[in-house]
Structures are given as structure tokens and as C-alpha cells.
Symmetry: D2
Subunit: 337 residues, 4 copies
Amino acid sequence: MTRKINTAVIGTGRMGSVHVRNLAQLIPEASLKVICDIRLDVAQAVADEIGIERVVQDYHEILDDKTIEAVLIVTSTDTHAMIIKEAAEAGKHIFCEKPLALELEKIDEALLAVEKAGVKLQVGFNRRFDKSFKQVCEIVASGEIGRPCILKITNRDPDFPEMRFLRVSGGMFLDMTIHDFDMARFLVGEVEEVYAVGGVLIEPELKDFGDIDTNIVTLKFKNGAFGSIDNSRKAVYGYDQRLEVFCSNGTAMAENEAENTVLKGNTEGFHVANPPYFFIQRYAPCYVEELRQFIECVRDDQPTPTNGRDGRAAVVLGYAAWKSLRENRPVKISEIK
Amino acid sequence: MTRKINTAVIGTGRMGSVHVRNLAQLIPEASLKVICDIRLDVAQAVADEIGIERVVQDYHEILDDKTIEAVLIVTSTDTHAMIIKEAAEAGKHIFCEKPLALELEKIDEALLAVEKAGVKLQVGFNRRFDKSFKQVCEIVASGEIGRPCILKITNRDPDFPEMRFLRVSGGMFLDMTIHDFDMARFLVGEVEEVYAVGGVLIEPELKDFGDIDTNIVTLKFKNGAFGSIDNSRKAVYGYDQRLEVFCSNGTAMAENEAENTVLKGNTEGFHVANPPYFFIQRYAPCYVEELRQFIECVRDDQPTPTNGRDGRAAVVLGYAAWKSLRENRPVKISEIK
Amino acid sequence: MTRKINTAVIGTGRMGSVHVRNLAQLIPEASLKVICDIRLDVAQAVADEIGIERVVQDYHEILDDKTIEAVLIVTSTDTHAMIIKEAAEAGKHIFCEKPLALELEKIDEALLAVEKAGVKLQVGFNRRFDKSFKQVCEIVASGEIGRPCILKITNRDPDFPEMRFLRVSGGMFLDMTIHDFDMARFLVGEVEEVYAVGGVLIEPELKDFGDIDTNIVTLKFKNGAFGSIDNSRKAVYGYDQRLEVFCSNGTAMAENEAENTVLKGNTEGFHVANPPYFFIQRYAPCYVEELRQFIECVRDDQPTPTNGRDGRAAVVLGYAAWKSLRENRPVKISEIK
Amino acid sequence: MTRKINTAVIGTGRMGSVHVRNLAQLIPEASLKVICDIRLDVAQAVADEIGIERVVQDYHEILDDKTIEAVLIVTSTDTHAMIIKEAAEAGKHIFCEKPLALELEKIDEALLAVEKAGVKLQVGFNRRFDKSFKQVCEIVASGEIGRPCILKITNRDPDFPEMRFLRVSGGMFLDMTIHDFDMARFLVGEVEEVYAVGGVLIEPELKDFGDIDTNIVTLKFKNGAFGSIDNSRKAVYGYDQRLEVFCSNGTAMAENEAENTVLKGNTEGFHVANPPYFFIQRYAPCYVEELRQFIECVRDDQPTPTNGRDGRAAVVLGYAAWKSLRENRPVKISEIK
């Protein structure tokens, strides 16, 4: 039998508990030893439900535990960089949720620590592990439909997250579009310039803290291709996740999934189901797959599929989009330091 | 410039006027010289609208006109065989709407006259000219998906025709399923045995004259394949026209067309358009194409794509289905004389 | 916390191990205490992988264990009825895979024991728990699209199971069509008469033991509706699972699922993914849901969603289909004793 | 019988001959009296094929003919404005192909003449008459899905037109995107600002005359909504015509049409047909409908559905896009004089 990787999860909120369950039940190559949350009762409830033996409140206990090889950081964004740094210094391999941080200095410090320690770092860009998006990527990479010309990504949430979360999220480009920036880099390559338009069309409360709920970001890629990302915080028909890479000899698209495959027809027309409503439902298999690959990379000493450079690049694009929106002009990525 | 074929249309009711318009406007290889209807005013109105110069009440005037090379017979079913016979004897090439007749003796007499006269006869099995059904046929015929195993045809009308028409129609199997019987022979080959179930599930008035509104006919083909046809007189969501040929190495299906390509999404789901409601709308291009090919066959002295044998075979299958339904047993085609 | 139901699984082959994993990981209301297989090493491997503590070779040990409340019977078909009887007599609630048995006498004996003991029995008609099929059922049951007129079920396997399995399976109607018979009863109601056609179109070896690989079964329902089921053992494009209930005021269909949602377009056309290839993959959520409901029924003392009567009725329909095929005539269900 | 409008067609090239055929055969409310082309032989060939009696080389003969009430201008773009002006002065109602001209001064002069003469002017924005796009417009206009937030238009040609045509076309934004600019105004309203990216990704020869083959145009609408148009001159899979209006309470999209409805499945997946390859085929019903409405407006003295203001506005947007591309900055519509 293959060696199991001893792991710990730091942060057991909504996403954290998803990772705990996946690690515990669906990744036989990992052994989940301990979970941690500053809200000890939250962590304990998760542990009870899933059957995890050890629960701690202070993540330093995990970092001090020599038997733990890898940690998952699923805490609030403002703590990511600090914990990465400490975990790297403690010699742990690291899986961290996106974004790495909202400040580039913090990211750079964390990545430096990772590099020095020689540990692995994977960033939670779960969508790269979606079977449909992955296949689009493979089709494009194979060259069979030629060179990318136009990338289109539609990413629309079914509804707003809680306002208190939004207020510290870094805003739409850093919280939501960041996934699309990573996907753009994954599918087409490095971006040279972005131009963002956007505004508050749905929820006026956002204006209090300078956020938006609707945007379109135009991309110029270094390889000459162009891209358009459109986002909304509220697509009442469900979580809208589509993309297309139009190429010189064809096109490859990923359409939405649907809740079911039922067609109902009557005099009014035909009715089909909405896409899944919730991101955790829509991307459930991705959360498993990203961890499976992380654990494999740790075990086999391979590079992680989404690394610190990817994590940083997406944040830089988010900053560039904010700058573009505020100054109403195209912004070169090289302007973001 | 190529020679134009002088033609005449006998019968200018609903289907007749469609053929008149198509011949006059969309088949440049034909020259429509005269149209005829026993209701002279009906024919005159059609002629006025479309711009046909000559109108007659008695089709014998057409048969006597030596300049007319080809006639379209679009009269009521009970007169088809008689007019075919006379037209053949007058040396005219003939396009006749289905069914050739409701009695096999009449059909045989008509076909004999056609054979003796050496004129061409095409039967109006318009669906063979549908672009989608034709492509299914080509895929199957090419052998690329192997040998046919299961044929499925769904043919459902959006609503009942007028009761006075139904009373003289020959009943569901001879009026409606007859298209599917022809399609079955077109796609898979000769049928050996049929088994029919059916009844009155929608319109009780049909019981007065022994007709049905819902049926399923099971087919055994001579080549070993099986088939299932399902029909309804009333699909409230529109004219439902689908088929599939499942083969040993794949499958080929034709799905319904839709009124438009609009998707509307809201909290209730997504809405798509119904299929076209009316057969004349759904099969409009087929009515043109079948005439175009008929005129070509006349001009180039080629065999017609749907001949008298096809017209007879579909009627035989209709009879077999009625016999099967009445006796509640599978009926061999060879039982029908 | 709610009381957990102590369970055991008897038979840990392909389906058995699926149930073991689901019970252990995804049904928190159940506590899987022991698993059993006459091939002890097979059971032990499953136990090791999933983390089950107790493994036995003789299921009587389970029946004798007073702490076990419910058993899953996932053994070979020929042992189902016997184990049901013994388990009922031991007071266990029972989930049994389909078919209950290949002989009606055995089924009746088992059901009598269940009735006497007052235990619950659920039969593994997993497809009733499919989200799409369930929704079709709900639409039809609600009456919003009127009265059922035509039921169509397409059920085609991607490839043959092993020949040694087929030889003892009861043949295509009892092994494969049985699911469709149950679905027909679920969606439309009791069947009065069946007519079956079928043959060997793909795999000649089946002729050795009188089985077939292709069939169409026509149904007459007691409520006047009609049905058509088509089956093939080999749909090279994947596991084909579609159905439609056409009603007097509309229609409801469940289309195939697809491996992914990618569309690839080039000069040749557009390419879309196959349906999932394997039944365990296609119906994975159903296997969980049927167990979840079984455990709930046991806990809350409610009737099971698929009971012994359902299990028997589907076998009766399978027998009727075989009789119909052999005698080439419609067979009334009342003929099967 | 209703009065017929006497019409003439000036210009009988590719689009002109389509209009001639439609007027002659499918618009019974119009009487096509004369057609005109400076290439007299071209006009004569069209007249012979379709059966038009009078052919002239100089359009002034038409303008001088008092019996002609309405003219269609389907000449090369550089002559549109001049002929409009003269036709208006001659008191003719005018249908003119887009664009009205490549210079705003010429357009303004022509529109002034139209206004003074009090004649009707309709611009050939055929896509507004597409059944799917029209329905999207109606859904949005009804308010049932709320307020527009994001407009997306994909408009991709299957291949390049001839280079000699492109050289005098005004470039991609004035020749191709102009349709999308009009559609944007039709669906969402007036545009305030555009930002264009684009380049030569397919056909280097375009660089000789400063044109591009790929672009994305971002729109800010006066009502606060945002839009993204993407264009390519070469979509090898066919003429790609899709759009979506995402709104605060739902979304409405028009998907591509397909050549046929055939699905072919085998081990490789399922194959579906390409969209129609050619714009004249794709929009054939629109060309009829726009003329039908033009003739009706003339007959009933109603405003035309696409007027001079629409024709001018789309050209202004084309200019703004070119300016934006050249200066790499968002350009306000008010900057274009």
C-alpha cells in the first residue's frame, strides 16, 4: 500500500469543511490528522460530523507537529500570506485558497518563504480541474483548432454573498473575476493589458464601500489574442459558468451544466432546468480533484498544477482591472508593481 | 437556356395551392400552364393571387392538352387512382399526393396503366426530401455506423384535422402513419411483420367511425432490424417529428426543429421555443424539393425518387396495421393482398 | 443527534462495494457494522480500503447478530430469495438488489416471510431515485400536462457484461428490461399486456443459451395508455438512458446526461460528449439516495419507496415479455402465474 | 384587392438580386416595375431569370418615372448617399442598404434631403427582422426579465469577402460590426462610449490597407448597461450569430441556427451540424420581412422600422470604434462629429 500523506486543515468554515470532508472521505492517499479553527466549536462540530479525532484552535500547534507534512489554509483572506509564510518556515507543503492576499507585498513575502523552504504551494484555483474547462484547455493546447483569437468567459453568481464578507473581499475583481483571470492565463496565456468597465446595477449598498456588481473586462494577451470576461453578482437563473476559446481553425466552448435533463413541453414552449445554483455544488468534483493532485504532488515530489506564480498573477490582474475602472483607460500589467 | 416542362396542377385546395405556388415561383425548370379544381372559384382565386393564366374546372381539358407534359394530382384521395389512370393513358407524367388510394385494387389498376404508358409516377412522400431525414438516411446507407438494429419514429400532429376529412381519410394508419411506413422503408428496408396497438385517448368522436388518435406500431424488418412508430393526433406543443436509426456501431437521429433559437432564463428555469406548429410550415422546403426532383426526372428521363411501388407498399403497411389492431396479433405483410 | 441504524452488507462484489462505500461515507444516519462475502478475501479488501472493522464469510453470523437492524443483500440473484426469507425471519429490515429471484414461487415465499415478520423490504430499483426521472414522474403525477398517452423508454447498455454473468441472468428481459418495466409502472401505472420482439443482432454467442441483445417491448397499460421500450446490449456511444411520457396536454422527457458540456466546432461540424459510459457512474447519486431513503424508512417506520410488490411485478413483466417473444403474440399479464 | 406599390431596384449585384427576387415573388403588395445596374448585362440576366420586363442602366430613368413610388438602393456604398439625395428630391420612398455612407457629411446631406422631401427612408439592418433576435428584443422590452445589465453579441463571418471589396468597405467596424452596433441600439438603447481592441490574426494582407480581422468592442450604454461585441472575419465552422441580453431578473439569448437537426453518435462522441455558412442563407427570411414592412410603411404612411437616424448612429459607432482602436482609449460617442 502506498504511503499516506499526513495532512491538517486550518480553517473549517464553508470551504474549509468541504475540504475536510473530501480529504477525509475521498482522498485515500491522504490521512487527515487534525483540523483547526479559531472558533473551536465550529471546528469541533465539523470533526464530530466527519469523524476527525484531533481539533485545535491555534494553527501553530499544527505547524509544530512534525508528523504533519501538508496543510490546507482555508482561513480568511487577510491571514493567508502570514500562515503560508509560517507554514513554509515550518517545512509544511501548502494548499491555500485564493486569493493569496490582497496586497502584493504580502504575497511576495509569502512566496519568498515558500521558495526558501523548498516546500510546495498550490493555490485553490479549483476551476482548472473542471472536466469541461480542462477539456477545452486540452483542445486548445493540442493545436487542432489552430491559434487562439478570442477568449470569452461568462462568470455570474446566482446571488450576492453576505455584505460583511464583500466588505473585506477586495472587491469584485479580486474576489470573483480573479477566477476568470486565472482561467484566461490557463487557456490562452499571459495578459498584457486590461480594460474594465463596470458599475452598480443591482445592489446600491455596494456603493458604500466602492464595490460593483456588474463588469466586463477586456484583455489583450501577449500572443495577440483578445479576451472578454463578463461578470454579474446576481444571475437569478443560477450559477452561470461558460467559456469559449475561438481559434483560427475552430472553436471550443464549455456550456453550463443543468440541474437535470428534463424537457417539459406544452403550448407555452419547452422548459429546461436551471444550472446548479451554488458554486460548491457546481464545482464539487473540482474540489476533490485539486486536493487529489496536491496530495500526489507532495507524495511524488512533483510541481503543483497551480503555483504561487499563478496566485500572484491573478491578483495582479485584479489590481489592473480596478485601476482601469477607476481611471477609465486600458492598463498595462507592467504598471502594477 | 434549358427546356421548361409544361405542367398543370389538378386540385387547388390546401396542399394544391402550396404546389401551385412552388411550381410557379420556385421551380424555374417548370412552366405552370393551367390549374384545375371542380370548385372553379377556388382555383380562380389561387390563379389570381399567384398569376396563373389558365384555369379549368374539368381535368379532362388538361389531359386533352397535348402541350402539357406533367400533371400534379392533389385532389381528394378517392379520385387519385382514377385520375392517375386517365393521365397515364393520356401520356402525362404524374406527381400524385399520398395515399395513391385506399383500395389496393384501384392502386394496382393505376400502376398498371402507368407501366403500360411508360410515364413517370412520383408519390408525394415529402419527408424523404427533408434535409435532416435525408442525412440520417445517408449516414445509415454509408455503413459508417454499422447495421440498423432499431428504428424509432415519433410523428405527432399538433391537432386534429377536420372531422369530415378524417371520416374519409382511411383512418390514422392510412392517413398519418403512412408517412412513417414510407420513412421506415426509406431508412431501413422492407417490413415483414407489423403489430399495432392504439385507441381513442383524446377525441371520443373518432369512435363513431372506428378511427383512433393514439398508436404505437412495432415493425419487424426483413433484414432483422426492429422498429417502433408512435403517433398522436394531438401534441399540444407542436408538430413533433423525430426519428432515430440505432445501429451496431452508432446511432443517427433527427431532432425536432424549433420556431426560433431563443433561450429565456429566469428563476423558473430556461424556456425554449416549440417546434413549428403546422406541417406545411415544417416541411415547406420538402414540397419544393420533391417537385424540383420530379421535374428533373421528367426532363432528364430518370426514375422518380418515390415511385408507385413505394406508394403501394405504404398502403399495404397501413392495412396490415389496421388488421393487427383489430385482431390484436402481429400481422405479416404477406397476409395483405 | 439522531439514532444511527446498524447495518450490514451481504455480498461485496461490484455493486456490493458501491453500497458499502455509500453506507460508510455518505449516509450519516447509518452505521455500517459488518460486511460479508463468501469470498472472504474480496470482502476483506473492501473493508480495508473503506475502513470497515468486521468482516464475515457466512451471512448467518449477521442474521444472528441482534445489534444489526438492517441488511443489504447484494449477492448473486439465485440466493436473493433465500436470504430475504432468512433475514426476515431473523427480524432484519431488508434492502435487496433486483431481481428478487428468477422464479415467482421463490419470490412469493420470500415476500410471505417478509409480511409475516413485519419487516421492511426495499428492492434496488435505483432509477426511481434519479433526479431527472423523478422529476418526470412528478410532472406527470401533478396532472399539469394531462393524462399519459404514450410512454417511451430507451435503455441501451454500452457493452455486454461478461458471458458467464449473462448465462445466469434470466436473459435480457429479466436482467435489463426489468428496470424499464419498473419505470413504466412508476411513471404510468399497471400494465395489462405486453408484446415483445427481439433477436440477436450483435453477439451470436447469445444464441447458445437462448438470450437476445436487441428488443422492443410494446405495453398496454390498464389506464389505456401505450408504451414502447427499446433495449440494446451494445450502444457504442455510451449508456443510453432516455424516456418520455407524452400526455394529453404536453410531454415530459428525460434526455441523456453527458460526460461534459464541451462543444468543439470546426469545418466538420460540432462535437459534443458521449453520455457516461457506465451504469455505476451514471446512476451514482441514485445508489446513495435509495439507501438514504431505505435507512430513513427503517428509522421512521415508514413504507419503503420500492417494495416487494414492485419487485415481483417487474419480474412478472419480464416473464410475460419472454412468453410473448417465444409465442410471437401479445401476452396478458394475467397469464403469468 | 389592395393597391400595389410600384417599385424599382437600383443595383442588381449579390444583395440586389436577392431583393429583386423577394420583391418579385414574395411581396404581393409590391409591383416590381424596373431594375437597374450600370452593368446592364448583369441586370438583364437577373431580369431574365426572374421575369422582370424593364431594365435600365441609368437610375435617373427610374427617378424620372412618375409611376415609381419606391426605390431600393443596393449599389456600392460610395454611391448610396448621392442616390438617396436624388431619389428623395424625385419624391421616391427609399430603402437603402447599409451603411448609408462612409462619411458623416454625406449622410447628413442625404438625410436632410429625405427630411425636406418628406419621403420615407429605411436602412437595410436586416437582422432586426430575424425572428429570434426580434423575440429577444420583445422579451427585454416587456420588462419581464428586468433591466438590461450586460449585452453580448457574437458576430463572426465564415470567411473573408473578396479583398477588392474589403479595400473600399470602410473596414471591419463600418462593414461588419455596424450590424452589431445597430443591434445593440435595438436591444438596449443608445451608446455613450466604446472601447475597441482588435488586430490581424488571420489574414496578413489586411495590413496593407489598415484593416483588421478580429476585434472586441466594449460598450457603455446611456442607461448604465454594458456590452461586449466580438467579431471575426473567419469562423471556419460557419456563420456565427449569437447574442444575449443579461438582465436583472433573467436572461434572453439567441443561439445559432443549424444546417439540420441530425445527431450522429459513435465511440468518438456526438456530431451536430454547423450553423448555415452564408449570410444570405442565414438571414433569408429577414430580407423578405424587411421589404414587406417597408412596402407596408409606404402603403400605410407609417414610419419605417429602421430609419435614417439608425443608419447614421451605427456609422458613428463605427467611427468611434476605429478612433478607439487607433488611440487605444475609450471614446465617447459625443467625440464623433
